[in-house]
Subunit: 195 residues, 2 copies
DNA sequence: AAACTAACTGAACATATGTTCAGAAAAAAG
DNA sequence: CTTTTTTCTGAACATATGTTCAGTTAGTTT
């Protein structure tokens, strides 16, 4: 046997990425073998190497894809007037966007140590760009006199950490809707930075 | 060769745990081999099995030890009067305690998925106990009228997530002292739950 | 229909893994 | 000093790992 019926790189490629994403998120990068990924796709391990140079490149590509999708989605959000409404939009966007792709988010936060030094620097720089978007809002709010924040860098990281905490407990279909969760978190963030 | 000079279980046992803790935190449980741990201690891999039944038990024991130390340390804190001062003590305690043992904390949050179902339940239950301590304070504050919190369970998780974020960026000897960091976070938490 | 290309198999390679255990040496007990 | 116990070695076991590649077939082009 060799090439299988209906095989096509436009299909197999994405399927490999989806399987890898799910498995890495579930068991961790180091605990997942290339054979497991291949088996999930219905293919032999060797076939994966038509789509990635090696295992680490696959991880890096997934993380990079997630980060650039995130940046793009945020930049597509309409820009705003005052800092308060910008902050609300950021909070709601962040929660909603992250809850819709928990596996990618999980990997982007948990598997950094499995990246080579060079790949790590790339991902960290992208994350820095996203954090800067929030910090710019906080700085604007301080300038406007709407926020009272001793250190905008720390506040940025604190807000993001708090929002990311949603993913540890929220499950769709629970007792709260995503809209309600957004509102609860927005309430806390708003008060935390208030003047 | 067999037993080495000066070998003693009272010394080797802790050294194995220390090496495993550091290596698991640095590279992840799945990425660290028993031979690496043994080599760090200066012993052959087989010797580790005098101190642990298997690799998973070693991880579980480290996590369990951390969680019970944490609970004990919190219970040793003097109890307090009003909710506001209790919350301040919790925030400062949490930041300080966690910053002093980053490896153990990191493992306890990152390696949950490498636990068996049974061991996972045990650790999660201990974590729940710690979270309940914070939620009790928040509930007290609501009862006193000092706090305004729509959902104390969510607020509990949000506060802890925010505080845990410290560990992703704080390094001793940086531009801020631990005391200053505590104060900045306490300021945000206080405002976030304020009535 | 023939020639070409893209996609995949299956086996192989070298190496790493967790774990077990008989035996040896150091330490402790008598 | 002799015996017993504790602690460790070194080799072995079965299995798993990431990766390569010659060969084979499905799909595409001419």
């Amino acid at each position: 046997m060799a090439r299988t019926q209906g095989s096509h790189s436009d299909i197999t490629g994405p399927r490999i990425r989806e399987a890898a994403l799910r498995l890495f998120a579930q068991h961790g990068f180091a605990a997942v073998s290339m054979r497991q990924i291949a088996s999930e796709v219905g293919v032999q391990a060797g076939a994966l190497y038509n789509y990635t140079a090696d295992k680490q490149s696959l991880l890096f590509s997934l993380m990079q894809g997630h980060m650039s999708d995130l940046m793009e989605a945020w930049q597509a959000e309409p820009s705003t007037g005052n800092a308060l409404s910008a902050l609300e939009r950021f909070v709601r966007f962040h929660i909603r966007y992250h809850m819709e792709r928990p596996d990618a988010v999980f990997i982007a936060y948990m598997e950094l140590r499995n990246l080579s030094e060079e790949n790590f620097a790339t991902i960290e720089s992208m994350r820095g760009g996203y954090e800067n978007a929030l910090e710019a809002i906080l700085k604007q709010g301080v300038a406007e006199g709407a926020f009272q924040i001793p250190d905008t860098k720390i506040a940025t990281l604190a807000v993001i950490a708090m929002l990311n905490g949603v993913m540890t407990w929220y499950r769709a279909g629970g007792r709260l809707s995503l809209e309600e969760v957004e509102t609860i978190y927005w309430d806390m963030v708003r008060k935390a930075v208030a003047a």
